[in-house]
């Protein structure tokens, strides 16, 4: 167990190394950061001088080794735009994103499990057809459009919910400010969470349904019926738990993908999180911030996937993650 975690930690470092290498090598193709830092009439020579000062004209390896040395001291560079250490900028924005993702995950869990299970159990009911139809629409409407439609419906037309931002926040432990504890904060969370969830929800409903249909046909589910168990117990415990393996995996990947989709959701709702920050950073060619963000995202992926692998072990005792002996 401990060895497993150590191994993963080591792998995480390797992953982040590669990510930094790749992002470093593409940064020249993202555009010219100087353009975004200066006014339109600043001359080319002047920009060249600044580029020199910032070390952007150094050879790739010089730049990269400088970065690695600093990174080993915990410094991932300084954002051009925020003029703060990139890591700090990201950490400031992380709570917003995490809360958004958390809210979306809750919605997904609350909706997809009952909907998926229901439609597996009653494959012919009208509601099932509705759920399946709805989910297709969910898949094929771009997030951006979904978000805008939600804003138009709920904040302009009905005036129920605010259209942008995080609303009132209260600080909890240290610098983490949460919107979950104020009414205003919660109201602000609703629309962004729904639109973020809307991308993943259909996938999960369909996945749970598909897996559930399979496990409803297994012998042990039949045996569970023969034991006279309560139907909810059979469905939600015996059948559902067996469907969870692929669901958890896809979930693990999707939580990561969701981090990517926060880019769109956050920018529509002007949500001050990392996704929006990243999009802006790409627009402003804020390369240090881009590299730092990618590294952090890589870390998130390694961590979630490690968790997912650990969860497999918990769910399915026959799966042997640690590589012990059978």
């Amino acid at each position: 167990m401990v060895r497993f975690l150590f191994k993963r930690l080591f792998q995480a470092v390797v992953v982040m190394f590669f990510i930094s290498l790749i992002s470093f090598s593409i940064q020249d193709n993202l555009g010219d950061p100087l353009r975004e830092l200066v006014g339109q009439s600043v001359s080319e020579q002047e920009r060249e001088v600044m580029r020199d000062e910032m070390g952007l004209n150094d050879p790739f390896l010089t730049q990269y080794s400088r970065f690695v040395v600093k990174a080993l001291h915990g410094d991932l560079g300084t954002s051009y735009f925020f003029r703060e250490p990139a890591l700090q900028v990201i950490l400031e924005k992380v709570p917003a994103t995490l809360e958004l993702v958390f809210g979306a995950v809750i919605i997904i869990l609350l909706v997809s499990i009952p909907a998926g299970v229901y439609s597996a159990i009653n494959p012919r009911s009208l509601l099932t057809k509705f759920i399946m139809g709805f989910s297709v629409i969910g898949i094929s409407v771009p997030v951006f459009l979904m978000a805008i439609l939600l804003i138009y419906a709920f904040s302009i037309h009905l005036g129920w919910l605010p259209s942008y931002g995080r609303g009132d926040l209260v600080p909890v432990f240290g610098s983490w400010e949460t919107g979950f504890l104020t009414k205003d904060g919660l109201l602000h969370l609703i629309l962004p969470c729904i639109s973020l969830a809307s991308i993943m929800l259909p996938l999960f409903i369909r996945l749970i349904r598909a897996e559930m249909v399979e496990s409803l046909h297994t012998e042990y589910v039949r045996f569970a019926w023969a034991k006279g168990l309560n139907k909810y117990r059979v469905w939600f415990l015996h059948a559902l738990k067996n469907t969870m393996l692929p669901v958890v995996t896809v979930g693990g990947v999707q939580i990561g993908t969701m981090v990517a989709y926060t880019i769109l959701t956050e920018s529509v709702f002007q949500w001050p999180g990392t996704g929006f920050m990243f999009l802006e950073a790409v627009n402003r060619v804020d390369t240090p911030l881009i590299v730092a963000y990618l590294i952090i995202v890589g870390l998130i992926f390694v961590v979630t996937n490690t968790l997912v692998d650990l969860i497999y072990g918990l769910i399915d005792p026959t799966v042997d993650i640690i590589g012990g002996k059978k």
């Binding site: 992953v15 898949i139 996945l207 693990g252 990947v253 996937n305 399915d316």
Partner: protein
């Protein structure tokens, strides 16, 4: 030779697939619609009243005309025109062609990569597994957008940007395929981890089958269910990703819009009254995705011998 093909047809007619097909109305309707889409896109140049790629036929003064049944609509443009003055009907036909090609091929590529990698990782395990899965982590950190930028850079460096237009479609397929394989790989790997402990796999080992055969012939079919789900969802995603990539200048040339690009470029018009620019292609896309999903669901059920359809 003719005998062979005849017997093949006969075999198909006797197969479960065909039988179930003839019994399922939804499947028949969906296949019909799907064929309509496929044929529509193959024969778009013949069917479409205008050629939306012919720039000289486009007149900006015709822009944003509503569909012909609406008040200001014109006979010439059955479904109205877009902001550039292109005939919507023709544009949609051509756009479906682009989107469908990209969607299907990109997903095929993703699935191919993902399945091979996921199967190997799960089946071989150990170091190979760790390596492949960390590769997936790296890949996932670079969203489609970043992959697009990398590919564009490499392409530019090796071929110059002039050539880009000709290969736009291939590049898009490549980018979307490369960017999203981890979805498949990780899902398959999870299923494989569970399946490979089952006795039928051990039985296959005892038979002396090679690993490749065990992986693809025995384990893979038993992991298909989530793959079907992901694939049908991914087709929609691929179509929409392509639209997002156009924004980076990496999509199809702006003068050859795909269905996704039509929807995203038109959405600002919804509230200004010119709803048809985005709603009509939107409906087409939803129908397309719905059809693909229903077919996928159906196929999945048919391929699972345990689930009876009557």
């Amino acid at each position: 030779m003719s005998e062979q093909s005849l017997s093949r047809l006969d075999r198909f007619k006797q197969s479960n697939l065909f039988y179930c097909f003839t019994r399922d109305k939804v499947a028949m309707v969906c296949t019909g619609l799907f064929l309509v889409f496929i044929l529509g896109s193959i024969f778009a140049p013949a069917i479409a009243p205008y050629n939306p790629y012919d720039m000289s036929s486009i007149d900006i003064m015709d822009s944003e005309l509503p569909p012909s049944w609406q008040e200001d609509g014109e006979e010439r443009f059955l479904l109205g025109t877009d902001a550039q003055g292109r005939d919507m009907l023709s544009t949609i036909l051509y756009g479906t062609r682009v989107s469908l090609t990209i969607g299907l091929s990109a997903v095929a590529l993703q699935a191919l990569l993902g399945i091979v990698i996921g199967l190997s990782a799960g089946y071989i395990g150990g170091r190979v597994d760790s390596m492949l899965m960390r590769l997936a982590d790296i890949q996932l950190s670079f969203s489609t957008m970043m992959v697009a930028i990398i590919v564009l850079a490499v392409f530019k460096a090796s071929f110059g940007s002039e050539l880009y237009g000709e290969f736009a479609m291939l590049i898009l397929i490549f980018v979307i395929g490369i960017a999203e394989w981890p979805q498949y790989a990780r899902t398959i790997r999870a299923s494989v981890l569970a399946e490979k402990e089952k006795e039928y796999v051990q039985a296959a080992k005892v038979m002396g089958f090679g690993n490749i055969k065990i992986m693809f012939r025995h384990i893979l079919p038993n992991c298909m269910s989530p793959i079907f789900v992901i694939s049908t969802v991914q087709i929609a995603n691929a179509i929409i990703s392509e639209a997002a990539l156009s924004f980076l200048g990496l999509g199809m040339p702006i003068s050859e819009p795909s269905l996704g690009a039509l929807i995203s470029s038109g959405f600002e018009f919804i509230f200004s009254g010119s709803w048809w620019i985005t709603v009509i292609p939107g409906v087409v896309l939803v129908t397309l995705v719905l059809v693909i999903n229903l077919l996928g669901d159906w196929l999945r059920d048919v391929m699972n011998p345990k689930i009876y359809k009557d």
